[in-house]
Structures are given as C-alpha cells and as structure tokens.
C-alpha cells in the first residue's frame, strides 16, 4: 500500500478528541461504543486524546496544519485555554466536529450565562458547602516565589464552539448516544475508503430528522395543557404523552436520535439533543409551541397555568442558552462587551 485512502503516505489518518468546558460524559460515551473502539484504533492513528492517552498541547502545535483528519471537540468555550484549543485544533484538523451538547449549544455550563462571573465564583468558592476561610478566588496570574503561575482566564460569557471557530459538523446529545457515535465513526471510515459520502458541511450528524416524539411510544391526543405538574407530584399514566399530563416534556422540540430514552423510562425529555433542523432558537420554539396549546382564553387563567411551571428559563433553555439568540443575561453580556 503506497497511501491510505486519506492520501496520507505516512500511515493511518489521524484522530483527535479534545475536552473543553464539559463534564466528561462525552469522553465516556465514546469509550462506551464497546468493540467499535477497536475500529477506531484500526483505522486511525490517535494523536491527541487526553482522556485516553498522554499527549501535550505542544505536540499538537508541532503538527502541520490540516494534518488531523477527524477531531471530535467536546465542551464549550469557558476560558482562554478552551478558546486556544479550539483555534489550534481548527487549524490542525480537516474535519472538526462539535461533539455533544456543550460544544454544539452550551449545554448545562451555558446556563451560567444568566449569571455574572462574580456570582458564578461566589457560588463555586463560597457558601455553606465550601470551606474557603480566606475567600480565595481563581486568578489568571499569581506570583509565587518560584515565579508567576498562570491559570486559564475565565470568560464572562460561555460560548459554543461555532461561536469561536467554524465547525464542519454538529453531533448533538448530552452525551451523544453510543449507537449514534458508532454509526458516525462507521460513516467516516467508509467515506475514507470512498464507500460513502459525507453530508454537506454544517450538517448535524448522528441524529434524526424529526423530534423525540417521533421515537416516543406514548399515545397522544390533540394537545391541551390545563396545568403543569412536576413528575414527582403527579400520578403519571405510563402509556400517555407526558406533556398531555402536564409534565413539561421537551420531546416535541428536541431533535430525534436518542430513541426517546427518557420518555420511555418515564422521565420527561429535557432537550439534550438540541433544536430540530431549521430552528433558530430552541427555547423560543418550545415556548411558542407550549404557549399555543395552553387551554384557556382567559388571561387570569393563563397566568395561573403558566405560574405552575417551575423555572421556565431553565426548563426551556436548559441546553441551549449559550446557543440561543439571546445567548446570555444582560449583566454577563455587558461584562463580555467590556472585555472585547
């Protein structure tokens, strides 16, 4: 063999995976593809994957631009280290995939965009559950006797990957489901062998075309919402659509692909697979849909129904705040502007 299908004469195509601001679940999800991980090893040379192997940033910096065939980037951009890695891997990679909800749309870390840096630090480094008598807060530079120590600089507004660099594909999910990861890896391998074509750049991969309801087995009727209930407070009919029982199920607006795991297990869909194709703002879509079926025309009654909805911002924007049109609360934005 003179060259592999990628045209790289020196061996297998290169693979990288990077962990930015995220919980680490995405990394585990990739490992969770079981024996398929061997296909990765067989078809790719893993050049950078901190969770699975030892590699240094400087090793990546030393690689020629565009030399990594596939990079799965998970996590959002919370600090300047994340941003540095985003730019670096963008430069080095042919295909950069925003992998998982944090990279795609900000996910749970993105909810911090409702708060200022000060508030976030207070929550993390003070309060009754924290033992921090000297009130120490993270600093980006600190002069120790041995020299200056650097920590990544914390940004006032968390960003999604495509808010800092161009992204080739999006793979949603918190985390992406293993069967979907497996399918995507298969697809890339086939494409490398010229047996399949990759979708057009900008596409969402490893997910369905419809929404979670499409895969949900629960029976549904014409929707009418007369009240909202938390799942633990209601007697839930196991065969009937949760939303119809007043439990805010985000399945209506969330991209399919997960096989409706949560509603099948009796829990409401929280929306981790993100917006459906062509939706600009997930939370706004979901809110409009839910508002359309509030079953009353009396303003007082409507208010009463809406008041029974716990934590609307968290419910509608749980995964999508950073990727939404608003992106952040006013105070966080103001601080971000000053920084810029």
């Amino acid at each position: 063999m003179t060259s592999n299908p990628d045209g790289n004469p020196n061996g297998k195509p290169k693979f990288a995976m990077c962990w930015a601001a995220s919980c680490g679940g995405c990394e585990i999800a990739v490992l969770n593809i079981h024996e398929k991980i061997l296909d990765v090893d067989q078809n790719f040379e893993v050049v950078f994957w901190p969770v699975a192997m030892d590699a240094k940033y400087k090793d990546v910096e030393a690689m020629p631009d565009g030399s990594i065939t596939l990079t799965l980037f998970n996590g959002s951009i919370r600090n300047d280290e994340n941003e540095h890695m985003a730019h670096l891997l963008r430069r080095k990679s042919k295909i950069l995939v925003a992998f998982g909800s944090c990279a795609c749309e900000g996910c749970i870390p993105g909810l911090a965009n409702f708060s200022t840096t000060q508030e976030i630090f207070d929550a993390a480094y003070a309060g009754i559950s924290t033992d921090n008598p000297n009130g120490i807060r993270p600093q980006s530079a600190w002069d120790a006797p041995e020299g200056t120590l650097h920590l990544p600089k914390f940004y006032p507004v968390l960003k999604t990957l495509d808010q800092v660099v161009p992204v080739d594909y999006y793979m949603p999910g918190c985390p992406p489901e293993s069967h979907q990861i497996g399918a995507v890896i298969d697809l890339v391998i086939q494409a490398l062998h010229g047996e399949a074509t990759l979708p057009p750049p900008g596409a969402v991969i490893g997910a369905g075309q419809s929404t979670v309801c499409d895969e949900c087995p629960r029976a549904r009727n014409v929707k009418k919402i007369t009240h909202f209930a938390r799942i633990q407070d209601a007697l839930i009919d196991p065969a009937l659509c949760l939303l119809e029982q007043g439990v805010l199920c985000n399945g209506i607006a969330t991209r399919s692909g997960c096989t409706a795991l949560c509603p099948k297990a009796g829990a409401a869909c929280v929306g981790c697979y993100g917006p459906a194709e062509g939706v600009l703002d997930y939370g706004a879509r979901l809110m409009t849909a839910v508002a359309s079926v509030i079953d009353s025309t009396d303003p007082a009654e409507i208010n009463r129904i809406l008041d029974s909805l716990p934590d609307p911002a968290g419910a509608f924007y749980r995964f999508n705040l950073a990727g939404s049109l608003l992106r952040a609360g006013k105070a966080a934005w103001a601080a971000d502007r000053v920084k810029a």
Partner: protein, 676 residues
C-alpha cells in the same frame, strides 16, 4: 452581487407619503446603496397605483428584464393585489413582487422628515432582501360545486336562498327552529313604513317552502363541516319531529288537543304559551308541527298519546329518530342572526322583578294581532291598558358595562312602539334616549312624524326603574329616575308600563358556529367580515359568507341587502365553475413531523388533519388560508409557509437592520440615522 434584477418603485401617494418622506431621496438611495443587492432601477412616482404607475412597472419588466419588483407605498391590505397584477401583466410571476408599507408604517406615524426618510430606506432595504428570497408561485384552482348551504332561515338567509334558487341553482336551507322566519316573523309592523311584517315576509317563506331548487331543513343543525371552498361536505342533524311530514296535512288538530301547555320562550318571547306539539305560529313554513320531547307527557310518563289518537292521517310517529344527512356544497352563507340582550343583566331596570317592565320583543308580541293578547297593548295582567308608558333606549348597548356598540335598530324600533302606543291606546309616551340615531332612508322623517304625534322625548340615560313610591302620585306606578340632560335636572316620571329597547347581541353560540365553520368573530362575538367596508359579506375563509345580523346589528333592509349580496358573490363563482386560490399556504414536511399533535387544534380554518396510522399531520392546502399560526407553533419546524418562510422573514429583518450594506456603510448610516 445578486443575479436578480430588481426594480424599486417609491410612491408619493400624493402628499400622503411625500409630505413626510423624501421619496426622491429614498429612490436614489435604493438605486445607489442597494445596487450590489440587485437593484437596477429605482423610481419615484406620484401615484404608483394609477394606471400610469402600473404601466411603468410592466414596461420596466419588459425593457429592463426585471426579475423582482419592490413597491414602497401603502399597506399590502390595500394594494398588494394591484401590484401583483401589474407584474403579471408585465410577464413576471406576481409572487415575485413585494409591497412594503411606507405610508401606514412610516409617513402616517412620524413627523420628523429626516428620520422618516431613513426609516423608509430601511423598509425598502428589508423589502429588497425579502423579494430576493421569494419564489414564483402558481394559484390553486379548485372546482365549485353548484349547490349552496344557507344556515339560518331569518330574513337574511331567506333572501340569500331565494336569489340563488331563482337563478337556477340548488340551495339547502338549514334552520334550527321548527319554522323559518327568524325574528321578523315575531313582529307586527316594521319601521319606517309600518308595513305588516307577516304580509311582506310570508310570501317569501312560502316561496322557500315550495321552490323546486330549495331543500328546506328545519328543526335541523349543522354538526360538521369538512372540505374547502367549492367542495364542502356538511353533516346536518335533522332532529326527529315525531311527525311524518309525508302524511301530515298541517290541520293543527294535534296542537289543539295536546293537553300540555308550555311557556314559549322563543317565538312568544316568554309572553305566551304553546303546546308540547306545536308550530311556532300559524303561518309557519313548513306547516308541520314538531313534538317537543322534553315537555311531552308521553315521553315523560309513557301515557297520553292524544295527538296520535286524534291525528286524522296517522302522522304522529313517536319512534322517529334523528336523521344525519350529508350534503355536498360549494359555498356557505351563515345568516344565524342575533339574540336579544337579556335585560335581567341590568338589575336597575327591574326586568323580571317588576311585572310591567317589558322587553322590546315582548312588546312586539303584544302588538302582534296574532300574538298572545290578539294585538292588545295591555299590562301583564292581560286587561289593563297603560295610560303612561316609558320606553328606555340603549338597554345593554352603548354601555361600557355591557356592550360598547350601538345596536343600530333600537331608536327606530322605539319610535315604532311609541307610534303604535299612540295609535292603539292614546297613552302618554316618553322615550328616554341618549342620542337619537335615525340615519337611513325615510328614518328621520319617521322620527319627525312620531314627534308630531305628541310623543315626549327625554334625553338622558335612565338610572333606575322602581316601584318604591316617594312622592304623591307615584303610588302603584313604576317610577323612572332619570337625569334630563337638556333640562339639566333629575326627574322622576311615574308610568304604568316600561318597555326596554334591549340591544342586539351575538347569538349565544356564535363562537361555536364560527369555529364550526372555520371563521373568526370579533371579541364581542359578531362574525368577522373580510373587509369592513369593501368586503362586508365575505369572510377570511374562502367559500364562507355572512349575511344579516350575524355580522353585526342591522335593520331588515340591510339584512336583505347582505343576503342578496352574498348570493351574488356565490352566483358569480358558480358561473365561473372554478376559483383560483392564493398559493400562500402552509405545508407539513412529513419526514420532520413527529406527530406530536401540538398543531392539531390550532388552525382557525380546520385545515389540519392528523393521520393516526402514520403518526403525521397534514394540511389541506385548499383550506389553509396561510395565517401562519401552525407554522409558528410547530416545535419541530416541520411546517413552513410559502411567502412567510424563515428565510424570507430573516432576510427581511436583516435588510431592515441594513446588514446587507457592507459593514462600514451600515455603521455610518446608522449613526446618521440616529443623529436625525
């Protein structure tokens, strides 16, 4: 650089726009700054909607090879059709034309000329971006079924049905009550000419009953409407009459012999009785009675059957069942009329508590020669003629606690009552009015006549009607407490009888009727016309027309005119054989639809169907009116609307924000605009 060739036309609208917006400047700006976006020509013109303005567009399409047109003028409500047609004449698909409003949205709402001019430019820029996203569309052609359904057999419905039937087409007339006739059948005389209501109405009712082109379905109601203009399928419940109409001769023996008397709340307005088997009035059409099951002794106790025993033709059939009929029609007229305002809602006037306070409809029945008192105008005891009568106008109308609107007919109807009282009893009659409203033909003359007959008029809203006597002469009387605003003092006027000119209200079930037929009603409940001035009998749903009081309070002449107008519209369609529908519709992408059913109940036009077998939703394009409700609601973004796609709307917003100009230009422009 766009590959499209766009023409921009900025209208002066005389001084309507040009008085506030510098239209020449807007045209020049578009020609210069929006050149990169494809604008090849931008002109301003005095009246774009004039034939010269329209010809200018057509000529430019030919000569300059325009592929898109933006007209900056008035609201699309007014002239969208005009300019689309102009483009069509020029050989351009009409849907590649965009009308943006710089009149309603700019010149009429701003006074600062410089700022208004900037805003007009932004609006044009939005239009240009939007038109770039537009695609050619073709109208939908649907055939028109020649039969028509008329719902409601009052005077408006009767007129509509007769006009269509006389023109040679079939009409189904569905009436809820046992007889057609509506409110007019309850009256004795009609203003302003005082002709006898029965004399002018009965011949029309008989024509309906005997017309070969009319299928009259009384004691019936529409239960379901499917389909769309040209092709409606209507399900009608024909309630069991328990009388075989093939055998019944209308002799009336059953009604005479039926032992059960029932207060007639509908036709006699609660003032008289009918039997459990009844026709509401002697001239009823059809002549066949119905058995009112809820009050019939046989259905209650299992015995009686007097009517069955005595009917000479054996027409009584206690085991009859409701029939469900399915009708195919191309168009529908709704003429379900009005309800009378219930004056009990205003306790100050004592109706229901003070015996000799009457409603206007009760008075109509009193004055009717065929009514419960044989036309004698007497008090509730049935014998005493009143010596003094007070007629109170605007009861429940022009009143912010009840209905804000004017019921239109009550002044004239009160004058009619005053005249009848004078004529029949010679009583002293007071009219308590806020303003006299007698605007139609021969109406004010009638007012003058009643004035000359010695009827007294007190201007002021009555505060209270009471039987609590305070002053001498008030004992045993009803006292009307009123501020006489012309005399500038409070007055107490003792009378024997009070007549409340209760207002007209939408039918109690008007909202359900609107929903059933997929049309909308105002917040009051009157069904909404397509345009209040220019299209009063059409509705926003193609193929559904409204006539008479269902659209708003009006008198008989106006109800008749609307009935005739609706039928003229329908006849025009039937003659054409088909109708072209606007292609502005929503559609569902079945692959994206998850079958969540959020949208299923939202369509005001009943265009949405859910297929449970495939778990997908579908929109019937002929029914959809392109309102966009479902498009916004679909959480899966599976529904898109032609002419209102996300791309079009976002492009327009970007255009409005001038993001289409290169960035520096946009920034300088914005700061100039802010400075203005």
């Amino acid at each position: 650089m766009s590959k499209e060739r766009i023409g921009v036309y900025v209208c002066h609208c005389g001084t309507n726009i040009a008085g506030v917006v510098d239209v020449e400047e807007v045209a020049q700006w578009a020609a210069g700054r929006l050149k990169d976006r494809g604008v090849v020509i931008a002109r301003d013109y005095k009246f774009m909607c004039s034939s010269l303005g329209q010809e200018m567009i057509a000529k430019d399409i030919h000569e300059l090879g325009l592929t898109r047109v933006v007209v900056a003028a008035c609201s699309p409500h007014l002239h969208e059709q005009t300019f689309r047609t102009a483009c069509k004449r020029g050989g351009l698909n009409p849907y590649l034309c965009e009308l943006v409003s710089i009149r309603e949205q700019v010149s009429w709402v701003h006074t600062n000329k410089i700022a208004a001019t900037y805003k007009a430019e932004a609006v044009v820029s939005g239009g240009v971006e939007r038109v770039l996203q537009q695609v050619p569309l073709e109208p939908l052609h649907v055939p028109i079924h020649p039969a028509t359904l008329v719902v409601g057999g009052g005077i408006a419905g009767i007129q509509a049905a007769l006009e269509i039937a006389d023109a040679g087409y079939h009409v189904y007339l569905v009436e809820r009550e046992p007889s057609i006739g509506g409110h007019m059948a309850q009256f004795d005389k009609t203003f302003p000419t005082l002709d006898c209501a029965a004399c002018i109405l009965t011949p029309k009712m008989v024509s309906i009953g005997t017309h070969p082109n009319v299928t009259m379905l009384t004691w019936s109601e529409v239960e379901r409407v499917d389909g769309y203009v040209g092709n409606f399928t209507v399900t009608v419940r024909k309630k069991a009459r328990y009388v075989n109409t093939e055998l019944c001769t209308g002799c009336g023996i059953c009604q005479e012999k039926c032992p059960k008397k029932v207060v007639d709340d509908i036709f006699e307005a609660g003032l008289g009785y009918r039997k459990a088997v009844y026709t509401p009035f002697p001239q009823a059409v059809p002549k066949f009675p119905v058995i009112d099951r809820d009050n019939c002794i046989y259905y209650e106790k299992g015995t009686c059957r007097a009517c069955e025993k005595l009917c000479p033709t054996g027409a009584i059939e206690f085991n009859q069942k409701d029939e469900i009929l399915t009708l195919q029609v191309g168009n529908i007229v709704l003429a379900t009329g009005y309800d009378l305002f219930d004056p009990r809602r205003n306790p100050h006037y004592g109706y229901g508590r003070l015996a000799n306070v009457f409603t206007s409809l009760e008075f109509e029945r009193l004055s009717n020669a065929a009514g419960p008192t044989d036309g004698k105008l007497v008090l509730r005891d049935g014998i005493t003629e009143p010596r003094t009568v007070g007629i109170i106008h605007c009861v429940g109308s022009r009143d912010r606690y009840f209905n804000n609107y004017c019921s239109a007919i009550c002044c004239m109807q009160s004058l009619k009552f005053a005249h009848l009282l004078k004529e029949h009893t010679g009583a002293t009659v007071y009219n308590f009015y806020i303003d006299m409203r007698t605007p139609a033909k021969a109406y004010d003359e009638f007012y003058q006549r009643v004035l000359s007959e010695g009827v007294l008029f007190v201007r002021g809203r009555v505060a209270e009607v009471t039987d609590a006597a305070r002053l001498r002469g008030e004992e045993g009387k009803l006292i009307i407490q009123v501020e006489d605003t012309l005399a500038g003092k409070q007055r107490r006027i003792p009378v024997d009888m009070v007549v409340l000119a209760a207002g007209l209200q939408p039918r109690h079930d008007a909202k359900d009727v609107a929903k059933l037929f997929g049309i909308s009603c105002s917040s009051d409940g009157w069904l909404t016309e397509r345009h209040p001035k220019l299209d009063p009998v059409a509705t926003m749903t193609e193929g559904i027309f409204i006539a008479g009081c269902v659209q708003g309070p009006k008198d008989i002449p106006a109800s008749v005119a609307q009935g005739a107008a609706a039928s003229a519209r329908i006849l025009g369609r039937i003659h054409q054989g088909e109708i072209a529908l606007e292609p502005i519709r929503a559609s569902v992408d079945a692959d994206k639809c998850s079958g969540c059913r959020i949208c299923n109940d939202l369509c005001p036009f009943n265009a949405i169907t859910f297929h449970a077998d495939r778990m997908v939703t579908e929109i019937n394009p002929a029914l959809c009116q392109g309102c966009g409700t479902c498009v916004a609601a679909c959480p899966a973004a599976a529904i898109s609307g032609t002419m209102f796609s996300n791309e079009q709307i976002l492009a327009q917003i970007e255009g409005l924000l001038l993001l289409n100009l290169n960035p520096e230009r946009a920034v300088t422009y914005a700061s100039e605009a802010v400075a203005a």
